[in-house]
């Protein structure tokens, strides 16, 4: 039995998306910029895909810019707001401490270029409030960028409230919605979102494709210079097969959202309830405002990579924020940001589900995780010290 519970990392492409892509390789292989019939057919398919993606977000087709993925969209959105903000003498950006590195590292680069960045604290409830954003806004704030939902711990941020605060203050609002698009209902106009990043492979579309929604009237700078594709804002021949696959996957995800959410949420809650029975563990992330598929825990006394390897041997594909899985000495910045100390952040486990997971799979996970945790604790000197009272429990 192999159970794929790492859907926040990537998803299996849907048959519908795959089938939608095939004609773009075999028949409609033209370059959308070409004037001849084959090219113009491709151009029509591109326009159709753009309209369908736009409809899923509640925006106009011309507000959608296709990119290579979520990271590129994040870079472009933030760089654009920074560039045009600086022109008006505004060089302050607000974000959160648990953003994806595509956002955080772009902000780090901007800090070196003279921008000031305020990262909102996420310790309280493993989330932020619109009030925190409101309190942080200054006359020189040129951008608020807050993720829609956190990739590691599943917290869903109060995006509409943050959007309203930003609108009132006249500050552009970008959201990295890579984990949310296709999983949560989004209406960029109603939620006052000015820019939004999304990635195709997080909702059963193909990898290597994403999009940036940018409200009409808000200027963009180029990350990729080149031809006149994407209204001149993203050079390079369009990745038509991937764009079409992403559009098909997004339409499916939005059309079946209520059903998928109900199913996935039920599986998630069963998993959370079951895992919470393991002593000295803690759920990471906002318990109420939470992605339908996210289960994230810290287990005291063990290390995450060992946990993942033993789970893999039992057929469970999962993820961890331990240092050893990140390739650095520090565990995940997200877990540290919500206040988990290093000792327990190393023992983290993320299981991310989708509507294709089954009740039987959850039962299997609930059988093997406690066994593996116990096995690792039994060979851990930290656990022995905790049990002997030589070290104090944190969780």
């Amino acid at each position: 039995m192999q159970i794929y519970a790492d859907n926040a990392a990537t998803t299996k492409i849907s048959q519908h998306a795959l089938q939608a892509m095939m004609p773009c390789f075999e028949t409609h292989y033209g370059n959308p910029s070409s004037l001849h019939t084959v090219g113009q057919e491709a151009n029509e398919i591109l326009a159709d895909a753009r309209a369908r993606v736009a409809a899923c977000l509640g925006c106009e087709p011309r507000e959608i810019y296709f990119t290579s993925g979520g990271s590129e969209a994040d870079n472009q959105a933030i760089r654009s707001a920074a560039f045009y903000g600086a022109k008006k003498g505004k060089k302050h950006i607000i974000s959160t401490a648990f953003e994806h590195h595509a956002v955080l590292h772009t902000l780090n680069a901007l800090e070196k270029e003279g921008f000031e960045v305020t990262l909102l604290d996420v310790k309280n409830g493993h989330n932020v409030t619109a009030q925190q954003v409101k309190d942080a806004i200054r006359p020189d704030t040129c951008l608020v960028t807050c993720m829609y939902a956190n990739n590691e711990i599943g917290s869903v941020l109060p995006i509409a409230e943050i959007g309203a605060v930003c609108k009132e203050a006249g500050v552009p609002f970008h959201t990295d919605a890579v984990q949310a698009v296709g999983h949560l209902h989004i209406d960029v106009k109603a939620q006052n979102i000015d820019m939004l990043s999304l990635s195709g492979h997080k909702f059963h579309g193909p990898k290597g494709v994403g999009a940036l929604y940018c409200r009409r009237g808000l200027p963009l700078v180029n990350i990729i210079e080149g031809g006149a594709q994407e209204r001149g804002k993203r050079g390079g021949t369009e990745n038509l097969p991937a764009i079409v696959g992403m559009a098909a996957a997004l339409e499916d995800a939005c059309a079946n959202m209520a059903e998928n959410t109900a199913k996935t949420t039920a599986l998630r809650d069963k998993l959370i309830t079951g895992l919470e029975k393991i002593p000295h563990c803690a759920l990471n992330g906002d318990r109420v405002n939470r992605l339908p598929g996210n289960v994230s825990f810290c287990f005291e006394g063990i290390e995450g990579e060992s946990l993942l390897l033993y789970l893999d041997a039992q057929g469970v594909c999962a993820s961890s924020g331990s240092a050893c899985t990140s390739g650095s000495l520090d565990p995940s910045h997200v877990l540290l940001a919500i206040g988990r100390v290093h000792d327990v952040a190393h023992g983290s486990l993320r299981l991310s589900l989708c509507h294709e997971n089954t009740d039987e799979e959850i039962d299997h996970i609930l059988t093997v995780v406690p066994q593996v945790v116990e096995l690792l604790r039994n060979m851990s000197p930290v656990w022995r010290d905790l049990q002997n009272g030589e070290r104090e429990y944190i969780l």
Partner: protein, 142 residues
């Protein structure tokens, strides 16, 4: 290619010498929970021979495999031979470790030396301190 060699996976999935030794003659602990690696080695020594060795490890796959392999390499051996165990020898016996995991084999060597030092200290046996790791003043984990 898999992250770890077959030997690493074997020692990780089926670790040898896991556990503790009551009234051990030497106990050594290296690493710290903050950086995600702690190794603890227990030694039973008779007539300068390591007659039994056990380990407990909090850490990643390569940390557990390194502990397991290192204990196998010194079990039944004279102290003089155990003192010569290097991290390179542990890594080699494991058919190699990924570059960012080599410190796990270093920890295994240091844990054994730390346990031997404890044995010397407990028994008032003189030794050359420079042969042992100085964990208190090492920047490895900080």
């Amino acid at each position: 290619m898999a992250l770890y060699s077959e030997v690493v996976m074997d020692h990780f999935m089926h670790p040898r010498n896991v556990g503790t030794i009551e009234n051990a003659d030497g106990v050594g602990t290296v690493g710290n929970a903050k950086c995600g690696d702690i190794m603890k080695i227990y030694l039973k020594i008779e007539n300068d021979i390591i007659v039994n060795v056990k380990f407990e490890t909090f850490g990643c796959g390569s940390a557990i495999a390194s502990s397991s392999m290192a204990t196998e390499m010194i079990k039944g051996k004279p102290i003089s031979e155990a003192m010569k165990l290097t991290n390179d020898a542990v890594a080699e016996a494991l058919q190699g470790l990924p570059a960012h995991k080599l410190h796990c084999s270093v920890l295994a060597e240091e844990a054994i030396k730390s346990a031997l030092k404890d044995y010397y200290d407990k028994n008032g046996i003189p030794y050359d301190a420079s042969e042992f790791p100085d964990c208190e003043n090492c920047g490895h984990c900080h």
